[in-house]
Amino acid sequence: MDNQDKNIVLKISGLHKSFGSKVILDNVNLSLHKNETVVVLGRSGTGKSVILKCIVGLISPDSGTIEINGKDTKNLTGEDLSNFRCDVGFLFQSGALYDSMSVRENLEFPVIRQNNYNGEDVTSKVVEQLQNVSLADSIDKMPSELSGGMRKRIGLARTLMLNPDIILYDEPTTGLDTFTSKEISTLIVKMKEKYGVSSIVITHDMPCAKMIADRIVVLKDGKFVAQGTYDELSQSPDDFIRSFFSY
């Protein structure tokens, strides 16, 4: 095993997924390295979110393997599944905050329900994560009192509560104004630098992609058709790939 392989935290091999007769993912392969941010580009409805949901187990793939830190995630149960869930954080498009709970309770919720939780006070950790997203003063607010951008930042703080190795972002800047989008993009970079997390980000927001991506992959017809850095792909001779960069 060379150094490159040792640094792989997530490996997807031969992933297939169909809904009825419609093939969504057709032999998708992807490796994510430690402390790397990969941006997935593709037209709407091409299955980008399906990849993320397959990784976290919300959708079962028809075939293929997904390995997290060298462990196949298929058929995980009990403590292994719980540990796997802690290793992979997921930031939903809407933030998906629990609307019957305050911000504090939202952040505490996943931590106090882990098997290894020993009853210690998690307030300091909640405050630390809220400070990371510059929303420490919102600790006692309800989700209904927060703006869209604030919800996403709180969602990110909640994701970080379990110290994940990998964070999956599903369109983190969609529906936000340019300024707030930039704030979220800055946060993604900050989390990578501070906690060394690896990330897969689905986005249509090219300024965000430019800011955060170490590598960009392009999904078309259920397959990754190109990968490279932002600068490499923006110079691509392929019209389809270049179309993403002419914003």
Binding site: G57, L58, S82, R85, F92, Q93, A96, P110, R113
Partner: protein
């Protein structure tokens, strides 16, 4: 698209199950597995005691007003309607006893359960459906917690425990309503009213009614949770989940009552 299913017996006799019936059987099967999962998750730690108590408050305490008013009016009107008829036979003194038996054995549990199905069944269906649509249930799942335990088990436990208590409360207020209307037409002290009312009430009236109310509460909770938890994506599905929860849970109350009456008539 709705699916038909071909069923064959001994390889020779075949018939096609209509799509609607096939879907119904599939749904019943799903609910059966949902109930199985409930009992499995109920006994496996971690126990969501704090959330269960909160749900008891939301489901039980916050329904007191509605079921109380309903019970009071049932007792009041049942008495007002019965007195003129029984007066023809000179049997108006039996009205308290008749109302008590009717309320404790049948009308109290069934009407309260139907009101409960409308309020709580739809509420649970809409709440969980909305959580499903806004990916809150998925968010719980991916954070390594069990949304089933936190959302479903707690609500079903609360509705199972709270409905029998609400029914007793409604029954008590029905007797208050009955006394007030009885006293309007026939003068009677509260003591003599209660003595007449309860002289023919025994454990054989209370126990079966309590047991069936536990089943009512369980099925209202489980159906509300099932519909909400399995709502499709999209805001329309929230309304469908709430509506279907009310229809199915009301129907289940009527069916369970019919079964309970048949069983209790054996003993």
């Amino acid at each position: 698209m709705a699916k038909t299913r071909e069923i064959s017996f001994f390889g020779n006799f075949k018939f096609v199950l209509p799509a609607g019936l096939n879907d119904w059987f599939e749904k019943m099967g799903d609910i059966f597995f949902f109930i199985g999962r409930f009992f499995k998750e109920l006994f496996i730690p971690r126990y969501e005691i704090k959330e269960s108590i909160r749900q008891c408050f939301v489901i039980g305490y916050k329904s007191l007003g509605l079921v109380g008013i309903t019970g009071f009016i049932i007792g009041l009107t049942l008495t007002l309607q019965s007195i003129p008829t029984l007066s023809i036979f000179g049997a108006q003194s039996l009205v308290p006893s008749m109302v008590a038996i009717a309320v404790f054995r049948e009308i109290g549990p069934v009407i309260t359960a139907l009101i409960f199905a409308g309020k709580i069944g739809s509420g649970i269906g809409a709440e969980l459906g909305s959580m499903k649509v806004t990916e809150q249930i998925d968010a719980m799942e991916v954070s390594g917690t069990s949304p089933f335990k936190y959302l479903v088990v707690t609500r079903v436990v609360a509705s199972t425990l709270m409905l029998p208590i609400l029914i007793f409360f409604a029954d008590a207020l029905a007797m208050v309503g009955s006394y007030i209307s009885y006293n309007l037409l026939e003068s009677a002290s509260i003591r003599s009213f209660l003595i007449i009312a309860f002289q023919n009430i025994g454990f054989a009236d209370i126990v079966p009614a309590t047991i069936k109310s536990i089943f009512f509460g369980f099925f209202i909770g489980i159906i509300g949770c099932y519909e909400g938890y399995n709502a499709d994506r999209g805001t329309e599905s929230v309304g469908i989940a709430a509506n279907t929860a009310v229809v199915l849970s009301s129907l289940s109350v009527i069916l369970l009552d019919m079964i309970a009456v048949q069983i209790s008539s054996i003993f």
